[in-house]
Amino acid sequence: MSSNSVPSPQSSSTATARPAVPSQRRSAGLALLGSELTVLFRRRRTWAMLVAIALIPILLAVAVRLSSQTLSPGEGPPFLDRVTQNGLFVAFTAMIVAIPLFLPLTIGVVAGDTIAGEAGLGTLRYLLVAPAGRVRLLLVKYAGVAVFCLAATLTLAVAGTLIGAALFPVGPVTLLSGDVIGVPESLLRSALIALYVTVSLLGFAAIGMFISTLTDVPVGAMAATVVVSVVVQILDVLPQLAWLHPWLFSHYWLGFADLLRQPMDLGSFGDNALLQLGYIAVFGALAYGRFSTKDILS
């Protein structure tokens, strides 16, 4: 994802103003991305959020382990009743629990901070002093958010698998279709689910970045982004708006269940990817319009 987001000579909209040394600019973009990721993952806030994400499956598994009450099938969040028999289900349950609020919250924080955070700190001017260009800065910032999305979902999956393996027996996993797969394949599917959820969140991340270009107050951008996610999820459960549901970015957030069917159902993955691409295009263009015409005063 990250390498794709680096501007290539063809895709950048500043093609006309381009000097004749694309390889140099490319490496400059990579360097910018590298420094962006270093800054992002050096922040204590980023680590705090990743630790909090890892705590979700840990708390869940510990609670189930300590509780003497056995759940009957179908009780509680999906897969929770399976956890005591098979620790690998911890990751799936944790994913379901984290998707509606916690993941959007952390991504809202990172995405809302992209531009507004630099503006608020007064560092945006310096970033743009280097002949980097605003488009490149936007792309690099977005790539940073995307990497954080992946890091967040992988953290959830890995922490869930590890704590599940530590506290519960691990064995072949029963899929939704009733077929049973071995442990290696189930780990592969966990990784695919993390990827699916990452892709599902990319459209939302683009919205967060657009909101971030609107203001110099990072907290405002973060809050607005999280509010957007909550509002859209409320719209997604109202039956009166059924016609709108397939167009909401949160519509496929729990669609990763399709990866737990046998054979795997990749139809919703394709629809989801297309939908997220649409959101990225629209809000990327809006962010470009806003950011490239903005007076940078700080």
Binding site: S13, P73, G74, E75, G76, P77, P78, D81, R82, Q85, N86, I96, P172, T174, L175, L176, S177, G178, D179, V180, V237, P239, L254, A257, D258, R261, Q262, P263, D265, G267, G278, A281, V282, G284, A285, L286, Y288, G289, R290, S292, T293
Partner: protein
């Protein structure tokens, strides 16, 4: 300033392109299908000559019958549906559960994946149906001799063995029927001709506009009732132009723009599905129960008949689409009228209660009789008054 407006251009162009794309794709799929003209009889022949024995695909069902959406429970937080489930425990819970699952079939939309392999003519056809719910799936797997049903929500598997003699009898009966059929019905084309003649008094059969279903070009066979009083506007069957397999059935109701009931493929593949799909082993941690077919003695049909007095049998008035079925009070099961779900869905009218959908109306008269038919409520009331 003009420089700045250029920079806003992508923000305007991109949404316009996306909206145009979203609008254009279904138009493109729907338009520009022109198949060689066929008569209704030729299309029927295509269906009966169809040699498709193995296929897989995704089937979508949509029902807009005006019934309350039972799927609503799926959108509720778990704690809510849980307490709702607890509230229904008691003697009526089973009946309510059964009624709910029937209502579920006729409301909302569902997606299922279907795999069928009947390519081996000597062996019984294998099939697998997967009904996909958001976080769950219900499976029915048959390898021809064993049938497994698996519900991921409750993690239960049910097993049913198809007795070998049941298959043999079915085949024998079919052969017997084929042999006993009049000589003029020996070829499919004669059957098609006969079918059209039989339904001609009540129904107009025509070939509608060619279209695309599941990405395949299809003929549309339209059955339109000649009766004016019925709620059914038309039934259309889309038939794949290449293989003759019916791909979609749409039932339209009068005065409703959306189809009242529609079931059809959204994707179909005519290659033989992998054999592994039809072999099912229940997961080790699942609850397994075995279902046994009720044993039917040969004479059972004759034995049960005298038990229902003639006056308690349902009476059908009229023929064709606007027929009305009357069930006498004596043979209406008591649980039905006592069921709390029933009173929730029924609306009181003159002389009883009405359970109304866009395709079928059911009139529960105060004296216990039930009238049902694909006709307006007034006709049902009139039929009740007439007797």
């Amino acid at each position: 300033m003009s420089r700045n407006s250029v920079k806003w251009l992508p923000a305007i162009v991109v949404p316009v392109v996306i909206v145009a794309g979203v609008l254009a794709v279904p138009l493109q799929a729907g338009a520009a299908v022109d198949l060689p003209d066929k008569t209704a009889e030729e299309v029927l022949l295509m269906v009966s000559d169809s040699t498709v024995t193995a296929y897989s695909g995704t089937v979508e069902k949509k029902a807009e019958l005006g019934l309350p959406d039972v799927d609503l429970a799926a959108g509720m937080p778990d704690s809510m549906s849980e307490s709702a489930a607890e509230g229904t425990t008691g003697p009526g819970a089973d009946a309510a559960g059964a009624l709910t699952s029937v209502l579920e079939l006729f409301s909302g939309s569902h997606t299922a994946r279907i795999y069928v392999d009947g390519s081996d003519a000597d062996a019984p056809a294998k099939a697998r149906v997967q009904i996909q719910d958001r976080m769950d799936e219900r499976n029915v797997v048959s390898n021809g001799t064993d049938v497994w049903a698996y519900d991921s929500k409750t993690n239960t598997a049910s097993y049913l063995a198809i007795p070998a003699d049941a298959r043999a009898t079915a085949q024998a009966k079919f052969a017997e029927m084929a042999a006993g059929a009049p000589a003029e019905l020996s070829t499919p084309s004669q059957v098609a001709e006969r079918f059209l003649a039989e339904i001609d008094p009540s129904t107009t059969v025509s070939v509608g506009t060619d279209g695309t279903v599941a990405g395949r070009t299809a003929y549309e066979l339209v059955l339109t009732p000649k009766a004016t009083q019925t709620l059914v506007e038309s039934v259309s069957i889309s038939v794949d132009s290449e293989t003759g397999m019916p791909l979609q059935v749409t039932v339209r109701a009068n005065g409703q723009e959306e189809p009242a009931f529609e079931v059809g493929f959204t994707a179909v593949d005519f290659s033989t599905p992998s054999a592994e799909l039809f072999e099912f082993t229940p997961p080790a941690d699942a609850t397994v129960d075995e279902v046994t077919l009720p044993v039917m003695p040969e004479q059972s049909a004759d034995q049960t008949k005298p038990e229902i007095p003639a006056e308690n049998l349902p009476v059908v008035t009229g023929t064709g689409w606007d027929a009305i079925v009357e069930v006498p009070a004596a043979s209406v099961p008591a649980e039905l009228s006592a069921n709390p779900l029933m009173s929730e869905f029924a609306t009181p009218v003159d002389g009883g209660q009405v359970f109304s959908t866009s395709l079928v109306n059911v009139f529960l008269a105060d004296d216990g009789r039930i009238f049902a038919g694909s006709v307006p409520v007034e006709l049902l009331q009139a039929a009740a008054d007439a007797q």
